[in-house]
Symmetry: C2
Subunit: 203 residues, 2 copies
């Protein structure tokens, strides 16, 4: 049994919270404004509330992460901290805003050395987390990180929720996962793939 | 009608030559050693022979590219030059050997400014070029480059051969394509996906 705190209830946060509950685990959803429609089975609260989860998913845009890290300073220590961002420069749609060769996940890991940071979900469009499939393939959640126990904990929650989880290697691979997420967003924006599809990984 | 020169007849070169011929275009296959089994419909020759194609595919490992560029110095000018390499550091399997943030395709484009360099095929396992599918999806050949006419020429050949071709943007996107190719290779090596599958792109 895990408790997962999800900060943010946009398309991604909502879909993840729904999968967490579906897997029989506890979901705490924290938002700045009250949600209009509660996620059945989840506990709702306000950003700033104490973190109930051993796993915390930052389901916000990369631009909103720094403020969360400041607000919860010290409180992520000892937790599994999951970054799902795609840190695009949305003005140009032509590059990322993190240092070249690095990743949002590695930037976050440097900022919060007491947490076990994982990269996950950034290569999944929200619709595929809900539907459970990409084209004919089961949705694969790619997970990268340096802490094997942290990865196992997240993988268990993902699999309990009915999705395929794939160990994508060390946190260094977050660079490649973010490149894939970036590419997928540009292809969807150019209508070369659909927002309900994208890249699927064969088993 | 296009003529495509393919340098190299390994799994990738052979599969591409076969698709070129299948599409009713001409394939010239150049190898250092005579091939054991000729590709039906293709013209075979030796590396060093004059280039018959307007499109030239470098179907060799990245480590063999520099020698080809030297050997054909000046002869790629005015041609569409297709790079399909995944420039991995095969000793560590943990990074690429091109400058951080760049790509093999951009390195080649700098070395051969007279050619229209495209990145293509590096996200396709050879088996999927032959089978025409990745899981349940048609195989998508992602093509990046700065010259729209060059991209159109290659896209026509790929589509004539029965595969889906997808414009993945400017040559800068080769960085993301190579990140995807790298990730896919590490996942296949770790048996998280199969060498006959990998990532498929939904339409």
């Amino acid at each position: 049994m895990s408790t997962v705190t999800i900060i943010g209830a946009g398309n991604m946060g909502s879909a993840i919270a729904w999968r967490v509950v579906a897997g029989g685990n506890d979901a705490q959803v924290l938002t700045r404004q009250p949600v209009k429609v509660a996620i059945p089975g989840a506990t709702h609260g306000t950003v700033g509330d104490p973190l109930a989860g051993d796993i915390v998913v930052l389901a916000v845009p990369f631009g909103a992460v720094a403020e969360l890290l400041a607000q919860y300073e010290g409180q992520f220590d000892g937790k599994v901290l999951v970054d799902l961002t795609n840190p695009l420069d949305f003005e140009t749609f032509d590059s990322l805003v993190v240092p070249v060769g690095s990743s949002a996940a590695e930037v976050i890991a440097q900022a919060v050395p007491g947490a076990s940071v994982l990269k996950a979900f950034n290569t999944n469009f929200a619709a595929t987390l809900t539907s459970g499939e990409v084209g004919g393939e089961p949705t694969s959640v790619l997970v990268a990180g340096d802490d094997a126990d942290a990865k196992s904990a997240l993988v268990s929650v993902v699999e309990a929720g009915g999705l395929r989880a794939v160990d994508a290697g060390s946190l260094k691979r977050a660079h490649e996962l973010e490149a894939l997420g970036f590419l997928q967003l540009t292809l969807a924006a150019a209508e070369k793939t659909s927002w309900t599809g994208g890249f699927g990984l064969t088993a």
